[in-house]
Symmetry: C2
Subunit: 201 residues, 2 copies
């Protein structure tokens, strides 16, 4: 056998072993239900990951709901496009807390968005719900964590919920099925590069 | 002053300080250009984050190109929807290496997708390029890392490139502006929950 043939055979054997391992793991995963997915940590990519999964769900024609906490005052490419495609949005109209500087106004705005979320979380026709930046509402004490946990746990069994934001409370992590922590290794903004429309916002 | 008024004033003072800090950081970030963003690590959310940013860019009507390495054999909600919206895709037709089990076939398929990427990376009208799962092509040695680095560095100055995949080579991290490492804290699949259409694929 030539060296090249040997390499080819080695690669094939290695890949056959990998395939057997992957197949076994896939066979083991038998439970069919929606999940709670948390994207937390200080790195870039949490909300965009949530929106990427929304795009996937909408692409399959599955009913999808989005709530945006914190953000929402300014125009937003993904919201405009998804709204055109018929995706319902609940958006917190006050924006960043350091801009509002009024705790009561923030709480009222958070509660209005949460009322819309509760409808999503009780609607079995909705395949996927994105609760973008929800974690801040819990860490700031703007929403009642126990009530949020109850609605999450009592949601329709087939429904998947994605929660994004830094410092996700441990109680939410405990009931979540999938948790990713997004760590900032480096960030262009810290190196003096301006945030860009169509990338960062 | 009542306690409630005091709380209100304390919140306002704290938020004013935060605003001053945020404003100063925003003012410091003055460089206007495209960036290289890397989403790596073993956690869920890398590709979906890339696709979320694609959605944002497309939502603003900005020209966006997508290349999918590894994945691509099966139907895919986000691809179908984005293709309808006019987003050009280059897709590796062989799928997972452990399914192909043929190194030469994989390399030829990777090179075909890379030829499409090189066109994206030389086109100043393209605002954003997603190179989904590119890292595997480099770690497997399917593409030449030096050539990939050269095309990334010589791309149009206004163009942003997002690279996803586990184990991103250090040379790519070195030239990137923003790097997020997505750590799996837990994953539903490991707990026996089946991957779901419209969420996981």
């Amino acid at each position: 056998m030539t060296d090249q043939n040997q390499d080819h055979q080695d690669h094939k054997a290695k890949m056959q072993a990998t395939k057997a391992e992957v197949d076994a793991r896939v066979a083991q995963a038998r439970e069919k239900r929606g999940t709670i997915i948390v994207l937390t940590g200080n790195g870039k990519g949490k909300s965009s990951s949530g929106f990427g999964t929304v795009l996937r769900s909408v692409g399959y024609g599955l009913k999808t709901g989005v709530a945006q906490f914190v953000k929402g005052k300014w125009p937003c490419g993904e919201r405009e496009l998804l709204t055109k495609l018929g995706v319902p949005f609940h958006v917190m109209a006050t924006g960043f807390t350091w801009v509002t500087q009024d705790r009561d106004l923030d709480i009222a705005a958070a509660e209005t968005v949460w009322a819309g979320c509760k409808e999503f979380l009780q609607d079995p026709s909705i395949h996927l719900v994105l609760l973008d930046e929800l974690t801040y509402m819990l860490t700031y004490g703007y929403l009642d964590t126990q009530e949020v946990l109850r609605y999450l746990q009592e949601r329709p069994v087939e429904q998947t919920v994605i929660i994004t934001g830094r410092n996700c409370p441990q109680e939410v992590i405990d009931i979540a099925d999938t948790v990713s922590e997004i760590k900032a290794v480096k960030h262009a903004f810290e190196a003096g590069v301006k945030a860009r429309r169509g990338v960062d916002w």
